[in-house]
Symmetry: C2
Subunit: 204 residues, 2 copies
Amino acid sequence: MIHYPNGKPYKPSEPPKTKTTSKKKDFSFSNRGKTLEEEINETNTYYLNQQIAIIHKKPVPVQIVKVEYPSRSAAVIREAYFRTPSTTDFNGVWNGYYIDFEAKETESKTSFPLKNVHQHQVNHMKEVTNQKGIAFTVVKFTTLDRYFIVPFTVLHEAWLEMENGGRKSIPLSVFESKTIEIKPGYNPRIDYITAIKNMITNDN
Amino acid sequence: MIHYPNGKPYKPSEPPKTKTTSKKKDFSFSNRGKTLEEEINETNTYYLNQQIAIIHKKPVPVQIVKVEYPSRSAAVIREAYFRTPSTTDFNGVWNGYYIDFEAKETESKTSFPLKNVHQHQVNHMKEVTNQKGIAFTVVKFTTLDRYFIVPFTVLHEAWLEMENGGRKSIPLSVFESKTIEIKPGYNPRIDYITAIKNMITNDN
């Protein structure tokens, strides 16, 4: 049994769930129904092909225990376990800036539950920010079909508030006032680099 | 059977081999016998704990086909295959700089064979360099116990020369004249960040 460093058992529900969900939801005629991860991957492929930014999704970390080598065919992993990631899902470089983010979906129409975010992700984004990297979270309100870029400072503020007994979610109104909304497009699908560019320009 | 985009069958010998080798070579009394990957991981842990830089190794990418969920214990991956990575092994951020590198060992005493480097790694490091990231290769001559930081420009030059029918390896003399040698220490083991810092300072 695999445990988190805090002793809680690790239940790696995410990777298989994402796959099943995406199959169920995938309509062939539009972008509706795609998971946020798929939309981000498409966006990253566009950025890569256009040489706008080099951002990749990190593979799911697994602990490999047993591998078989059948003759004349590819090695097969026969026993492996999901490990707890120590970082966020996406990172890379754009125009000299280190970019690091996590993609999160919620079905809620009113707020983003912070239980979607893990402590190790907050820690990692804080470390990245301290090293002058750009850390953020892309949040998709699936029911509303709205997308937001949440700078780490905004997430961190809500996180600390929760730790001090405050609310366990970020209301939509905070998204509307303190984060950057992205209107999804055709290509790039979720143009987060343009959003980041504007954010940096406005800061200076 | 998994194939590279060029049609060659993919033989994922690296991940299991590394593990076996490291076990065989691991002496308890010193750093000798550790694989370069282990030495870099130790260095990265030191950087992380000291908040000097946030650099992580990317997980080995696998295509998960079958997962079992035994009741009351962790999910077990029962069928999975190694995928070809599209990037290098290590990346992260230091002081606002995007850092991206690969770690390579050779037993040769006279030169570093370029067959240790893959086309996708060269492509990725070129893309990173174009985006103003810092890309390099850490090369360890295991028999000589010498370590070098090879800036991408030096590797790229040798790579292009090879493609034009030139030599298929980089001689030790080129390492001594065009790259940065690192003397291994106790902690950090392979202080590549200090080497990079000096490289940047000398460039300006």
